[in-house]
């Protein structure tokens, strides 16, 4: 972004305070533009009225992120990469979580291709109210045969995930494009030998393209510049990902340099970067568990330091789970508290005999508890106590969770344990056990201490519910 104060953005707005954007004033809207929580298209007059057209164009230019945003694929699961404005997440936030594409070779049986791609498409891991997913498929033209590659592409395309076409052979890439014209795949890659032909394909089919120059930033920048001048906008950079020793250190350094230059304003190299941790499998590590561990280690490094899109191999849960969690960690928005509204929630259709639990309104806590309960078909009442979005353990230590708060939450929800249940009992988190006595007094109801981890609620319920008289 070329500007960083709301005042500078305000200059380009209609300044009528009409309120159509949902903000009371243009100035308020301007600050949302600066922190990127709104887009210019959210101001209807600016978009609709001709007299603002020039200002809109200029404002969009000023607001566009330092690192270009590139879209791969189409439809619901299209993957956006790049779009960042800062080197450290606490300075704003990182946008567009690192996208993880898993490889499939074009020379394996059709059924095996379909099976692997389905596995990629179906992966999910529940986390704070949503599912962490894998992002796409990188089809490797191991055969180097256009017909074979096209056949594989056709199969993969049916599943609907974004695709990367991996070949240095323009004829192979073209064959793939012919069967997936409208799927907006990413071409991998143009290098010093084939750049004219691959660049031509990117223009002809209007698809994003990777430029590749291993451990040579001058060459990489030269390719990117050449493509940009020819009118290709959606460029991704591959500086090479060495898997071990000094090579790995060089790759790490290249990622740092490219992103720093881009954020500092070198527009010729301000594009998303691709990492290829799959090369872990080329490092001579004989044991597959170790190779997989190493791939995860490489993925972690480049998730933290500026890899926007990756090509990976191992689908083992012990590889994928930490990978998707780390991307989520680095890309959560540090500006917004992740919390749910306080109040009484129903899991299933609870009645007067159903158990009553409380938890806090920290999103990680609430969704963890809620999903542990609902996944095990426990029908119950679940009270989310407003602790300013702090988890049970931290809130109990920090004072946001006490018996008065719990009582208050019951009152606000209009729920009375003695009137609305037959058992007059509340089950509390094990980590808030110290509140038990106090709560019995304040609520005038029975209080049972549940397990410390909500994952154990099902077992606990089996043993302890309904409560003995």
């Amino acid at each position: 972004m070329k500007i960083n104060s709301p005042l500078e953005a305000y200059k380009y707005l209609p300044q009528t305070n009409c309120g159509e954007c949902g903000e009371p004033t243009c100035m308020a809207f301007a600050s949302k533009l600066i922190d990127r929580s709104s887009k210019t298209s959210d101001c209807p007059p600016l978009v609709k009225e001709k007299k603002y057209a020039k200002k809109l164009v200029e404002l969009d230019r000023l607001l566009s992120p330092e690192i270009r945003q590139v879209t791969i694929g189409v439809g619901e699961r299209a993957a956006n990469i790049g779009g960042d404005d800062v080197l450290y997440r606490h300075k704003l936030t990182f946008f567009n979580k690192t996208k993880m594409f898993f490889d499939v070779s074009d020379n394996i049986e059709e059924a095996a291709i379909i099976e692997r791609v389905k596995k990629i498409a179906d992966f999910k891991k529940f986390y704070v109210g949503r599912n962490l997913l894998l992002d796409g498929v990188a089809i490797r033209a191991v055969s180097n045969d256009p017909a074979k590659f096209a056949a594989a592409v056709k199969k993969v395309a049916e599943i609907g995930l974004p695709m990367i076409f991996c070949s240095f052979n323009p004829a192979v890439l073209k064959a793939g494009l012919e069967v997936a014209k409208d799927k907006n795949p990413l071409l991998y890659a143009a290098n010093k030998d084939n750049w004219k032909e691959v660049g031509e394909l990117a223009l002809e089919y209007n698809v994003p393209v990777v430029v590749s120059a291993i451990n040579d930033l001058d060459a990489l920048k030269t390719l990117a510049k050449t493509f940009a001048e020819a009118g290709i906008k959606d460029i991704v950079l591959d500086p090479g990902t060495y898997p071990s020793g000094k090579g790995l250190k060089d790759s790490f350094t290249n990622f740092l340099k490219i992103r720093r230059a881009g954020i500092m304003g070198d527009t010729e190299i301000a594009y998303p970067i691709m990492a290829i941790p799959l090369t872990a499998w080329m490092a001579g590590i004989a044991d597959p568990v170790s190779a997989s561990y190493w791939e995860t280690v490489m993925t972690s490094i480049f998730t933290i330091r500026y890899g926007d899109i990756m090509i990976l191999h191992s689908m083992e849960p012990y590889a994928v789970l930490p990978e998707v969690h780390l991307a989520e960690t680095i890309y959560t928005d540090p500006r917004t508290p992740v919390s749910v509204d306080g109040g009484m929630y129903k899991v299933g259709s609870p009645d007067m005999d159903s158990p009553v639990f409380f938890t806090t309104n920290f999103a990680l806590t609430y969704y963890t508890v809620e999903s542990d309960i609902s996944a095990n078909n426990i029908v119950c009442w679940l009270l989310a106590v407003d602790t300013d979005g702090i988890g049970v353990e931290a809130a109990a230590a920090g004072g946001q969770l006490n018996s008065a708060k719990v009582k208050d939450a019951f009152e606000k929800a209009g729920f009375d344990l003695n009137r609305d249940t037959n058992h007059h009992t509340l089950i509390i988190p094990g980590l808030s056990a110290r509140l038990q006595g106090d709560l019995e007094d304040t609520l005038g109801a029975k209080v049972m201490v549940g397990p410390m981890d909500s994952g154990r609620i099902p077992g606990w319920i089996e043993k302890n519910w309904p409560p003995k008289k």
């Binding site: 606490h90 070779s105 999910k124 891991k125 529940f126 033209a141 191991v142 991996c166 070949s167 240095f168 052979n169 323009p170 073209k174 030998d193 084939n194 750049w195 004219k196 001058d218 990489l220 920048k221 030269t222 510049k225 050449t226 001048e229 020819a230 898997p243 071990s244 020793g245 000094k246 790995l248 250190k249 790490f252 340099k257 500092m264 070198d266 090369t279 499998w281 080329m282 001579g284 590590i285 044991d287 568990v289 170790s290 561990y293 280690v297 972690s300 490094i301 933290i304 849960p317 012990y318 930490p322 780390l326 960690t329 540090p334 999903s371 996944a375 095990n376 981890d453 994952g455 099902p458």
Partner: protein, 442 residues
């Protein structure tokens, strides 16, 4: 192994490990750890969770991880890969492009990184009046870790935990530690000889009034035992009881006079002055521990320096480690901000950092048998999930600026060391030709 794998620490480790004898290790069945049964004792339930971790696969891992340093086997090796060399189809003549438009890449160093992180040694050798075989040096950075702006002077270090009492271990863990668990000295030895620990942390948890309430004098004996058993530098941890820790740590400091141990920890909720006093009187370092809050960290460091006169070269910070998926976003950014502020001249934060990386085992993904949620994709065997959870947690913090890692799982230690030393530049590996990765037989 005909490979040029030069990694001083790691080769030592494998020399010390009788890999052959680990063959055919049988794997324990699934052992469910009951978290809810622990914790009443006043010590951290997360700690208990790790102690209760299965490590049936642990021995197997050692032999497996050895593969990491092994000879390349065919996979994608140059020449073996099917022909995917760039064959340019001439049919696709390209009118739009004529010649490359040359451009040079250049990027400046960060001018604002003006301040060096304090160097802090742990452990005194005979030259300094102690009996340690070597000294561990932390800090000294002038840039973020592994950055090109300025070389990093000292590599990351790993200290492995020892406890002063037998604690609830799963059967499979017992198989590995059973013979040493009643002897902190033997336990420490094993960590150094077999698991390549740079340092040892002795946790005096039995002193907790809610555990065994052993005396400060008993604790001091344990410390002496460990000092005699190993010659690496040691960290001394209390039980976490804020009333008793100052007394226990002072006594421990007294009997280890002149060894320059790391006293863990001074914090705002206990008598930090007493711990600082012991450090000064008996020649030790202080771990300044706060909980995920940069301003509290500044406050405690300031108090240690100004109020207690602790010299700058005796302070290490622990800004708290939260596990991957359970607050790592806070821990990561807290450390990164602290390190950036220090490099830009905040003298209250220019200290090396330490991480309780074992906290990673608090995340359910690291220890639960499987997902409690039916709709999740299969979580796979947890034996492999736990160590990588600890590795990724530690590695993330290494990149954020952390220097010293307090760890427990030997596999995690081995991999974390290998990757941090790769980024540091210590690892020589045969160059890999990655140009043909597309066609490699993965």
């Amino acid at each position: 192994m005909a490979k040029k794998v030069k990694l001083s620490e790691m080769t030592d480790m494998f020399k010390g490990m009788d890999i052959l004898s680990l063959e055919g290790v049988t794997i324990e069945g699934d052992i469910e750890i009951d978290l809810s049964g622990l914790g009443g004792g006043g010590f951290d339930p997360m700690l208990a969770a790790i102690l209760g971790q299965e490590s049936a696969m642990l021995a197997q891992h050692f032999s497996r991880i050895a593969g990491m340093f092994g000879v390349p086997v065919g996979m994608g090796a140059p020449g073996v890969a099917p022909g995917v060399a760039p064959t340019v189809a001439s049919a696709l003549a390209a009118p739009k492009f004529k010649d490359l438009i040359p451009s040079k890449f250049d990027v400046a160093n960060i001018a604002e990184w003006t301040t060096q992180i304090q160097e802090v040694p742990i452990g005194n050798t005979s030259a300094d009046g102690g009996t340690r075989g070597k000294q561990v040096m932390l800090g000294g950075e002038k840039a973020l870790p592994f950055y090109f702006d300025a070389p990093m002077p000292h590599r990351n270090q790993v200290t492995i935990d020892v406890f002063d009492m037998r604690i609830g271990l799963a059967k499979a863990v017992k198989e590995n530690y059973d013979e040493v668990m009643d002897s902190p000295g033997e336990w420490a030895k094993k960590n150094v000889d077999k698991f390549n620990a740079d340092m040892i942390t002795i946790h005096l948890i039995s002193t907790d009034p809610l555990v065994k309430d052993t005396s400060a004098k008993d604790a001091a004996k344990t410390v002496e035992e460990v000092l005699q058993a190993v010659d690496v530098p040691i960290a001394i941890g209390g039980s976490g009881n804020p009333q008793k820790d100052p007394e226990v740590l002072s006594k421990a400091a007294e009997v280890s006079e002149g060894e320059r141990c790391l006293l863990a920890s001074a914090s705002l909720n206990l008598d930090y002055a007493k711990i600082a006093e012991a450090a000064l009187k008996y020649d030790h370092d202080v771990l300044s521990w706060t909980q995920l809050d940069m301003n509290s960290q500044k406050e405690l460091n300031r108090k240690l320096m100004k109020q207690c006169n602790v010299p700058r070269d005796r302070i290490i910070m622990d800004p708290t480690t939260a596990a991957l998926g359970y607050g790592l976003d806070y821990a990561y950014t807290n450390m990164e901000r602290i390190r950036l502020a220090a490099l830009m001249g905040d003298e209250e934060l220019t200290f090396p950092m330490s991480s309780g990386t074992t906290n990673a085992w608090g995340a359910r993904e690291s220890w639960m048998v499987g997902s409690p949620l039916g709709q999740d994709s299969d979580w796979g065997p947890r034996e492999y999930r736990g160590p990588i959870w600890e590795i990724v947690t530690g590695l993330s913090l290494a990149i954020a600026g952390n220097d010293l890692f307090m760890m427990m799982h030997p596999t995690s230690v081995a991999v974390l060391k290998h990757i941090t030393q790769s980024l540091f530049g210590l690892v020589e590996a045969e160059p890999v030709d990655i140009a043909n990765w597309i066609g490699s037989e993965v």
